[in-house]
């Protein structure tokens, strides 16, 4: 829970406001995605949740306590945006070190190494790892100790498509275990796929937050596929605009009642509907709309 959070950087006379009265509640067990343009204050918000950055004003409560509380921090797994690993160490050596500091077992560290797909690289030097492998290792470190909250800053950065699918699968397992996810990613499609809650941060202000479906939902546009042989002119007269795909039409600016009325007329004239899909806005569209043309 974050309440009226303010963070100013820089000199007292001319501070730069990174976070401006941000209030946010993330339900336990949910997957929350924080999105926004570069410099919006996303990483600052994440670091404030972890106690790495002290707020200038406002209150932060994580897992029912203060992020300064070691007992709370023990229940958090964190993957920084640009994790710098000790390159001379082995992967297993690094995870053992994290396990010691988190008061977790060595077996846990070894299990997480397997889980992130680096089971065969345990004794390899981190210096020999690719960016994607280092990112996986960082995720493995975050997973040690079965944290109740996973705070991940760009978790799939530098990871190939197969790896991203693996990461999504791991995050799904963590959610199934009951962990809460707090995700910051530039990849909006990833956020959409993983998160059921989204917050949009622009210029330090939380412009919108809520369920992903609610933010992208309320469709007023529908994509309808009719069976071949349907009279297209008739459909156009009823308000179905043709698309570049054969037999696929779009019905815009119509609510559910209006759509059903038009479909009833079309079916009355012999048209057969084979597919109906609401045209949801994606997060990118929502973000661009909120940012406005100047910011975008």
């Amino acid at each position: 829970m974050v309440d009226a959070l303010v963070k100013d950087y820089g000199k007292r006379r001319h501070p730069k406001r990174a976070l401006d009265s941000v209030s946010l509640r993330v339900p336990a067990g949910s997957a929350f995605g924080l999105i926004g343009p570069n410099g919006a204050g996303k990483t600052t918000l994440l670091k404030t949740l972890l106690g790495v950055v002290a707020p200038s004003a406002g209150a932060v409560q994580v897992l029912g306590g203060s992020p300064a509380d070691l007992g709370v921090r023990k229940r958090i797994g964190y993957l920084p945006e640009r994790l710098q690993l000790p390159t001379a160490w082995t992967a297993l050596g690094f995870l053992h070190s994290v396990a010691r500091l988190k008061h977790a077992s060595r077996a846990d560290a070894e299990q997480q190494l397997q889980r992130v797909g680096l089971g065969n690289e345990g004794h390899a030097r981190i210096a020999t790892f690719s960016k994607g492998m280092r990112q996986r290792l960082g995720l493995g470190a975050a997973l040690i100790g079965a944290p109740d909250l996973l705070v991940l800053d760009e978790p799939t950065d530098g990871i190939d498509p197969k790896g991203r699918a693996d990461v999504r699968s791991i995050l799904a397992q963590e959610r199934a275990r009951g962990a809460t996810l707090f995700l910051n990613s530039h990849l909006l499609s990833e956020t959409e796929r993983i998160c059921d809650q989204v917050g949009i941060l622009v210029s330090g202000r939380l412009l919108r937050s809520g369920a992903t479906l609610e933010l992208c939902g309320n469709p007023s546009s529908w994509r309808v596929r009719f069976e071949a042989g349907t009279d297209t002119k008739q459909l156009q007269r009823l308000g179905f605009a043709p698309t570049s795909v054969a037999q696929v039409f779009v019905c815009t600016d119509c609510d559910v009642a209006e759509l059903n009325a038009r479909l009833a007329k079309a079916r009355g004239q012999g048209a057969l509907v084979s597919e109906l899909v609401p045209e949801m806005r994606d997060l990118e569209a929502v973000l661009l709309e909120l940012m406005g043309p100047a910011d975008a």
Partner: protein
């Protein structure tokens, strides 16, 4: 604070992979091997009859061995003290900046670890490294001279450990500077500057160079905060019984520890209030 010890252990693990550290161990070992191979001492009934280095005679007088070797022992102890300090400044300057580097420090601070424990852990790790290196070098040369001459004096080890005492103050200042500015170069420069100040400038006799009155008082006041490293170097000779232990040396040793403690406290104070 077990977490501080974990951090210290991590630092030691990192040090093992450093070329600087491996180079130091190799240099000490090679110097020991070379000296052991080339130095030949003929000791008869407690008298040093002849000493040869690289096959050449080094002095012909018949002298009591313990007296004859006194300059050798105290010189080696001083050498260990100075080279240990210089090497420590150069080799350890980037430990703290690396631990505090962006991308690593956030990760460490998000772990269940107090900020003070992180600073103390880095400090203890570097001190442990310095003590281990000093002991290794000191013991190698002590054993070497002991086997060659039959005289066993721990003044070389004491000289090396005196270097660690001085280094505890130097590194504390370097650590504090690294917390303010994450730069290995600056940390190293602070270490060299403090070493120079404590070895050359912090001498009471230099006050005579300043005009009597305010300039002299200012000089004396400023250098009174700087540990007198030139004096600490005598610890080796004192341990060997070649020089008496005086109150000034004890005061200097205590002052060095207080200076180190103050610098570590400053580092913790700044670290506690800093955003990363």
């Amino acid at each position: 604070m077990p977490s501080a010890l974990h951090i210290a252990a991590d630092l030691l693990r990192e040090a093992v992979h450093r070329k600087w550290m491996l180079g130091l161990l190799l240099a000490i070992t090679l110097a020991g091997v070379l000296l052991g191979w080339t130095l030949q001492m003929e000791v008869v009934d407690g008298v040093l009859a002849s000493t040869r280095l690289f096959g050449l005679d080094v002095g012909h007088d018949l002298r009591a061995t313990d007296m004859a070797l006194r300059p050798v022992f105290s010189g080696t102890a001083w050498f260990m003290y100075v080279t240990g300090l210089l090497f420590g400044v150069l080799a350890c300057s980037d430990f703290a900046p690396e631990f505090l580097a962006a991308g690593r420090i956030e990760h460490l601070l998000a772990l269940p670890l107090r900020r003070a424990e992180l600073i103390v852990g880095i400090y203890l790790g570097v001190l442990a490294l310095s003590v281990a290196s000093a002991l290794y070098g000191g013991v190698v040369f002590t054993v070497l001279f002991g086997l060659k001459s039959g005289i066993w004096s721990w003044c070389i080890v004491a000289g090396a450990l005196a270097g660690c005492l001085a280094f505890s103050a130097v590194y504390a200042a370097m650590l504090a500077s690294a917390v303010f500015v994450r730069s290995a170069a600056l940390s190293s420069a602070i270490g060299v500057a403090l070493l120079f100040a404590g070895s050359v400038i912090a001498r009471p006799e230099l006050a005579a160079l300043f005009n009597a009155g305010a300039p002299r008082r200012w000089f004396t006041a400023v250098v009174s905060f700087v540990p007198r490293f030139w004096l600490l170097g005598r610890l080796g000779a004192v341990a060997g019984g070649f020089e008496p232990l005086d109150a000034d040396l004890l005061r200097t040793a205590a002052g060095t520890l207080i200076f180190a403690g103050a610098c570590v406290m400053l580092a913790i104070w700044e670290f506690e209030r800093r955003d990363y």
